[in-house]
Amino acid sequence: MTRYLLPLGIFGALVALLFVGLSLNPREVPSPLINKPAPTFSLPELQDPGKKLSRQDLLGKVYLLNVWASWCVSCRDEQPVLTEFSRSKQVDIYGLNYKDQRDDAKRWLKVFGDPYVASAVDADGRVGIDWGVYGVPETFVVDRSGVIRYKHIGPATMNDLTTKIMPIVRKLQAEP
């Protein structure tokens, strides 16, 4: 009997392995920056280029950093969701305006909504590289001590925000 059961078992294991493997999203490359201090940056703000936004400015609070650009097509799906979510004021959302034109970016926010407390302008994409950005939009959750705790790749849906991102944010906000 084992003569037939053993190959069947091996076949079953292979099917299970491939089933899991194929249901993973190859686009979602796990970031090595999770649980590491967020990379430092100091960039001009989008709305007020005279002012700078830096990592130090954001220490002491839990925040989301959303990487966006006016040329990014899937950001158009995400933006209304983020804007609506930001009205609930559960967590501050900062933007990283990645490789964009200032005028285009400002116009884009008027059209699709502006959920950000402020957006930092990363015109040449260097800060993006430091943060391991490879596909816009991406959303990072950063804790009070400036450590990246979670990264969401691709446009976040309301479901992602309420079931994945917010539970982490609430937990971090509860930390001293």
Binding site: R27, V29, P30, S31, P32, L33, R126, G132, Y134, G135
Partner: protein, 200 residues
């Protein structure tokens, strides 16, 4: 007896010549000679296309790799070798050297700058791994999480060989089936009958 007789039998030998011509005729009705000319022409055409293709590609590729910027010549070999081992994260099956993606161009810029600053290949690789993970390397390092990736195929091969050896050994140990005297006589009678049939 000549070859044609063997091939076609005595009666068919005379017709063999025409048979060969019929066999050689091309589906479109052209003769072998016409066909050879066509074949030659196609070969020349293919060779020309290959030369054009091969001469065009490296130029296009190296232009993309250097992004229109002059990299000091002493770095060029190292630079090209390095970007050939790194993966573009946007189009994941392309190297940084091949990719046209914006991010790949930015990363190439980053690599060029670091090379000119005097950083080693290892320092540059570490810089990228720190940001994008081992995935950025086409040749991932051997560590606990990649053991299966590196040695899994060999383990499976060894398992296969083991199973084959066990199976063959077991089969060898089985005693061959024997026949009794009556069966033996029957076999010999059959063989004898066959021999007689051949001779007649």
């Amino acid at each position: 007896m000549d070859v044609k007789t063997v091939l076609y039998g005595r009666r068919g030998a005379e017709g063999a010549e025409t048979n060969i011509n019929r066999l050689m005729q091309m589906p479109d009705g052209s003769t072998p000679a016409q066909h050879a000319r066509l074949k030659y022409f196609l070969c020349v055409l293919c060779a020309a296309a290959a030369i054009l293709f091969l001469s065009g590609i490296p130029q296009a590729a190296s232009a993309a790799k250097l992004d229109g910027i002059d990299l000091p010549e002493q770095y060029e070999g190292r630079y090209k070798a390095l970007i050939d081992q790194l993966r573009c994260l946007v189009c994941q099956n392309e190297t940084l050297a091949d990719s046209e993606a914006d991010l790949a161009a930015d990363l190439r810029r980053e690599i060029r700058e670091k090379m000119v600053q005097g950083q080693s290949d290892k320092q540059i690789r570490d810089f990228l791994v720190a940001r994008y993970g081992d995935f950025v390397l086409y040749k991932p390092p051997v560590k606990a999480t990649t053991l299966m990736l590196w040695y899994g195929p060999f383990a499976l091969l060894a398992l296969g060989v083991l199973i084959a050896v066990i199976t063959i050994r077991r089969r060898g140990r089985r005693t061959p089936e024997t026949i009794n005297d009556e069966q033996h006589r029957q076999v010999q009678a059959l063989l004898r009958r066959q021999d007689e049939g051949k001779n007649s």
